[in-house]
């Protein structure tokens, strides 16, 4: 967007253009194939026939971060991996989103107390948009998280000036 990004006041044209751009973004969120632990199996289940994440336009699991919009951090993050996650997130083209799936990615989960190598929440490494509780969450919960992310994208402003709250 560059030149036009967040430049305009609200009017009929800009709000409609914004709506259209947001609609395009939210209907083709391409996630990155990025399974870490147990939650990855549920993430695979979401991609498979019973739940079929393709219905939300998010079924194209990309192996490369350069082609992905969404990083589903599905599993426990430890210090050795945290640096890689940061690097992968930086490699994704903007606009990019991250979902912390399950308790481990949200806040260390069951490894909070005695897990000496576990990062207590992936949001210490990359910014997270949506958190999903569960250990592991059901596939439906991941779909719920995806819908929540879509709501967030729909509410964002692309060429309009963002509404600042004091």
């Amino acid at each position: 967007m560059g030149l036009f990004e967040k430049q305009f006041e609200d009017n009929v044209l800009t709000t409609n253009v914004d709506w259209l751009l947001n609609w395009c973004r939210l209907s083709s969120i391409w996630p990155m194939t990025f399974g870490l632990a147990c939650c990855a199996i549920e993430m695979m289940a979401v991609g498979c026939a019973h739940h079929d994440i393709d219905r939300f336009g998010a079924g194209a699991f990309r192996a490369s971060p350069r082609q992905a919009d969404l990083m589903i951090v599905a599993g426990t993050v430890n210090f050795k991996m945290a640096e890689r996650i940061k690097r992968l997130y930086d490699q994704m083209p903007s606009p990019k989103y991250a979902i912390a799936m399950g308790a481990c990615a949200t806040g260390g989960g069951p490894y909070y107390k005695y897990g000496y190598t576990v990062v207590k929440g992936v949001d210490r490494v990359v910014p997270v948009d949506v958190y999903i509780a569960g250990c592991p969450p059901r596939p439906e919960a991941l779909l719920e998280g995806l819908m929540k992310l879509q709501e967030k994208i729909q509410a964002s402003s692309v060429i309009r000036k963002p509404i600042h709250t004091v």
């Binding site: 990155m32 194939t33 990025f34 399974g35 870490l36 632990a37 147990c38 990855a40 199996i41 549920e42 695979m44 289940a45 498979c48 026939a49 019973h50 699991f61 192996a63 971060p65 599993g75 426990t76 430890n78 050795k80 991996m81 890689r84 992968l88 069951p110 490894y111 107390k113 005695y114 897990g115 000496y116 190598t117 576990v118 250990c135 592991p136 059901r138």
Partner: protein, 402 residues
Amino acid sequence: MSTTKTYEPSISRTEGRPLAGGEREYMIDVRTQDMEVNMGPQHPATHGVMRVLVRADGELITGAQPHLGYLHRCAEKIGESVEWLQYLPYTDRYDYLAAMNNNLGYSMAVEKLMGIEIPRRAMMLRTLCAELNRIGSHLIAIGTYGLDIGAFTPFLYMFREREWMMALFEKICGARLTYSYIRIGGVFNDAPPGWLSEVEAFCDTFEVKWREYYDLLIQNHIFVKRTADIGVITREMALDFGLTGPMLRGSAIDWDLRRDTPYELYDEICKDKAFEIPLASGEKGTLGDCWDRAWVRAMEMMESIKIVRWCLDKIEPGPVIGDIPKTLRIPPGEAYVGIENPRGELGHYVVSDGGKIAVRCRVRGPSFVNLAVLEELMPGALLADTIAIIGSTDIVVGETDR
């Protein structure tokens, strides 16, 4: 990178790579610059977050070094920090594809220290659930193996059946993946009414579907060509590295803990000759290649179905859990129990000093041991075969790293 060990390639350049029918594929002896390729930690074919540092000379791999620890979750430290029963949910999480088997292994190790007897119905349910979980685990193993090789459809089909299996587990214990169903002293809950007949319906359907997987994937010529003659594990190598499970049986070593050191009800099941141990024969290529291991896993699913049917046949009403106090105090001592996980021998070594908390809770993860052979298998293979070799070891990174 400077610490990387260099390997001598296991095949000579002038002799070439052996092909089927005694022929050899010759490589032109041109010295190319050695290249180090990093596979992972984020790679769709490493089954999680494992990193393999591959040293390649052109297309020929001259060395490979697995780097682990990207999912180290301190399971053993936690075992020494929480109470005996509280550790049980953590056992679900190291081999998350076969959580029932992990629960079973840990419970059996603690029961061995306590020296208690388990009600017969509980044993039946344990065996049944562990075997069902073995099917689920092998479904993912073969499904993702197909996915690595390039077959997407079998993966979708296998997940369909796995989803059914998980729905069954959800009915009996309330979770899809991390069950904590098998407890110390028995099982946690009796099967809900009608559950056993549902399992029977699953078995009936699965036998039909299994044939489809077998024709669609295992016997497919493209799959065979990608996996046969690749990553050959010889008998000596298998024993030297301490491989267990399908990796061992893929090299035609007749060893299965369920039959050879029977635990739970497997003694009776073996006496009834209810199941047999599939052994690879090198049908499509050399004995001990990737295809043999995939075949062993596919055949084991059917054997598991037979065990499940045996249990369904013999199950009788009764109590499902012994008289276990709320706060366990385990008598001092140490015990090692190895059970047959879908991936091999899952060993639990527990040490107690008579208190509420374990002194040591070691997990011998079969994936961890089986993966070590990768260093030896890779040199001499082609770069495209790395994925076939890694996939055939069927690792779960949660277990290699714990």
